[in-house]
Symmetry: C2
Subunit: 332 residues, 2 copies
């Protein structure tokens, strides 16, 4: 019998769950037994892991007997229902949903930024939202050097962040439009093909979306600085993989663009791609499938003193979700 951990993946048939299983294999995570979990409607499916085909099991209250580590990618409702059961079974859970992220005793972890928080867990460690992860990986080393006071971020988010159905919807809408048929709208409130929709997640009472407030709240929690003021506008664009972000920061201490580049070149998990005269800057299509966060277009924000503008891109499914979760588990 192989040594290692019994690992459950809830939501294993989704975009992130599928990538998760791939990454567990790629990184040779010490898996003794893999328990692929999903809802009833995926019961005819199997997943491939290290040459084996493992039938998907239904996620229920009996799923976590003897499970050491549980990854949750099955949506907030499933997390709320089954994570407490998993924890009672002695399982350590890494949750990708927003269900427990802002709770005081749940570490919200991006390994490059705050791995020291992992050991404080009481059974649950939360994975931040994809748009937060890539931004804090880049901003944390700047914050440590110059103290960030304010962040304005506008996002260009890929449809894979919503799931397989959204990717299919973009594909189908493009096909319909190219064949002079009326595109069908179901996952998003409006046509996403050849459009930009400033609406991700539900609207909350201050006219922001939940996604915009998550970026603000999670960033403050991860950077451990409640005084940073953050305004996000989150926008869905017709891109399959890779979130892009236009980020303007203001710092207490002035940093030149060269100083920022130097700090980021030494930063873990960051690749500086910043040679605009040779058309080099981060792009969603190139970040797709990569593990790092890419940053470029680093320049003085000419509208404010002590300001820096930049462009941050990462694979929202890998670093934005599955990879970050595996990195947390590796550190456990």
């Amino acid at each position: 019998m192989p040594s290692g951990y019994k690992v459950a993946v809830a939501g294993v048939t989704g975009v992130v769950g599928t990538e998760m299983v791939k990454i567990l294999g790629e990184r040779d995570f010490p898996v003794k037994e893999l328990v692929p979990l999903a809802s009833q409607r995926s019961m005819d499916k199997s997943i491939e892991f290290k040459g084996d085909s493992i039938p998907v099991q239904v996620l229920n209250e009996h799923s976590f007997k003897g499970v050491d580590i549980g990854f949750f990618f099955a949506g907030e409702a499933m997390s709320r229902e089954f994570i407490p059961i998993a924890v009672r079974n002695g399982c350590v859970v890494i949750d990708n949903t927003s269900a427990f992220r802002m709770e005081g005793d749940v570490p919200l972890v991006v390994p490059e930024v705050n791995s020291h928080r992992i050991k404080e867990h009481k059974g649950i460690i939360a994975n931040p939202s994809c748009s937060t992860i890539q931004m804090v990986v880049v901003l944390n080393p700047i914050h440590k050097q110059a103290r960030i006071r304010r962040i304005v971020v506008s996002t260009y988010q890929a449809v894979s962040g919503t799931g397989i159905k959204a990717m299919d919807e973009l594909t189908e809408q493009v096909r319909d439009l190219f064949n002079f048929r009326e595109p069908k709208i179901s996952v998003y409130p409006h046509q996403i093909a050849f459009n930009a929709i400033p609406h991700i997640d539900e609207f909350v009472e201050n006219a922001y979306t939940a996604e915009e407030m998550k970026i603000a709240d999670e960033t403050r929690k991860i950077l451990e600085d409640d005084s940073i003021r953050i305004c996000a506008t989150t926008v869905r664009v017709p891109v399959f993989y890779g979130h892009s972000e236009a980020v303007n920061i203001e710092t207490e201490k002035r940093l030149s663009p060269d100083e920022v580049r130097k700090i980021l070149m030494d930063a873990p998990g960051v690749i500086v791609e910043d040679d605009p005269l040779h058309n080099k800057y981060p792009l969603a299509i190139y970040a797709a499938g990569k593990d790092e966060c890419f940053v470029g277009r680093i320049r003085e924000d000419i509208s404010v003193d002590n300001g820096i503008a930049m462009w941050i891109v990462s694979d929202n499914i890998r670093k934005g979700a599955a990879l970050n979760a595996v990195q947390i588990a590796e550190l456990l």
Copy 2:
């Protein structure tokens, strides 16, 4: 012989030129004679205007004899070469390129904002860039009430802004990708299909693009306030028609989102679409073909005192170029 003006349109076969001829007809502009001008390679083409088919003529130094009004949509080099000739022929030119926009004696006009400048012209009136026009139409009434001190804008710009070849390139790249062929790249430095490219126009010495600096410089000139500080990030997205902009402003006088909505509901050329709980906000696909600038997602910028965030969308070919030029001519 009909009364009216002899009107030349240089660059008549391009995206904006085509729309221009359509708008001259739609708005019943008093055209006595239309002179469609283009380069040698369009010489086999004709344009349709009010039921007539008019052969395209080659743009040269003899094109402007007796021409009252000349619209230039043929690129900066053509503007630099032929506008001085047109002006010497007594023609009043409305130029859509950036060739003369920042010159002191050339009014840079958005009729809703600064039509009073038109009469100061010395033969040339400049049409601002598309991304500037839609922003100043919305920001001018706010600036008048509360004095804008700073603007941070990130754009989501349509490929039609680049021209017909760029629209064809997006179409072909999508077809290639859906047929498992390598997409061809020629107009843009990178694949635009399913991507977001933070690079519009050339890079200039401060690591901004010319497009980003145009937004800053033109906005200050049109709003007649050199003290407004502006930082733009301009991004091309796979959208055919309609530029979208995430705009964060800071004002001297505090305005609530409700006050901003009220100001904008009375503003010329502006339509407020701001009911997020019913999924109502401006969208590129709905703005296409419309004359107005649409604004929504109006909310407090929670990262600063006296800040407002909003989402501005307009048809970059109509209000962003052709329509604005016709509106200027109507006021002449």
